[in-house]
Symmetry: C2
Subunit: 136 residues, 2 copies
DNA sequence: GCCAATTCCTACTAAATTTCTATGTTATCC
DNA sequence: GGATAACATAGAAATTTAGTAGGAATTGGC
């Protein structure tokens, strides 16, 4: 499956924030209760989302998370890039010492894999959070 | 990474068959020697490729594998479909008893994930083995 | 008929990754 | 000061992926 649990959880949690009409922060525990998600896991995920400026947080009691920018400026690509490990990794540097089958530069396979990844990234950039929310 | 080792191995092995000018079978051991691949693993992969009519085999001594159809009729999608587990799996059937967050049918998330998967499948259908081979 | 080379089959092991929990610390509101 | 929340790190548990072991069945060539 193309979409991992981690990405799905991130999206479901962000949708929960998006559904919140008011401009006040919502806590992880609220999100998880409403969307039936594992709280500690979501905490980790949200720290990554914050590092990538997708959400911002308010510390302490009455604190929580808010979207850091408008829903239409947050794409599925942004979310996956924040949340998935080495989402951006080049498949290979073409160095035969790392991959014995690379006969040299450029390596045809890895150019192809990167081409496929780039296609996917471009597509996912067009799927915005507002579109996702609108489907509910 | 979108492309797994298993798919990469399958492609590299199929390219090796494609490079073979003559219309005679090539053995797994030859393929693995030339492309530096783990033989037993490739054997498994080729059995799946055979089940999906991507290659055909000749038993016994002097036996081996050949492409079952022209290179331009074998797509990356065909290969991944043969080789990757539940490549075709619907993300979810929308049944809340299986996924507690599905509030009903249709389930917006899973329709979206399937939409993304379908986009990817359509793209991968257009990447044919002859194109891949031509890149070397 | 026998041997070598090969496909074919199943079960298992090992490694890596992903998912999730435990146990805190720090910050803020009341 | 207590409650509630974000923030942090380590690691357990589960799942998936990659690879190995050992052999059975099939065929060509001698």
């Amino acid at each position: 499956m193309i979409i991992s649990t981690k990405t799905e959880y991130a999206v479901r949690a962000l949708v929960e924030i998006g559904k919140q009409a008011e401009e006040k922060p919502i806590s992880i525990s609220d999100i998880c209760r409403k969307a039936d998600l594992p709280q500690k896991y979501i905490e980790q995920i949200f720290r990554k989302l914050k590092q990538h400026r997708i959400v911002e947080s308010i510390h302490g009691s009455k604190g929580g998370y808010m979207l850091a920018k408008p829903e239409k400026k947050i794409s599925l690509n942004d979310i996956m890039n924040a949340v998935e490990e080495n989402y951006n990794a080049e498949y290979c540097d073409g160095n035969p010492e790392h991959h014995s089958h690379c006969i040299g530069l450029p390596c045809g396979f890895h150019d192809l894999w990167n081409e496929i990844r780039d296609h996917m990234v471009d597509y996912l950039k067009e799927i915005k959070l507002d579109y996702i929310i609108s489907r509910f």
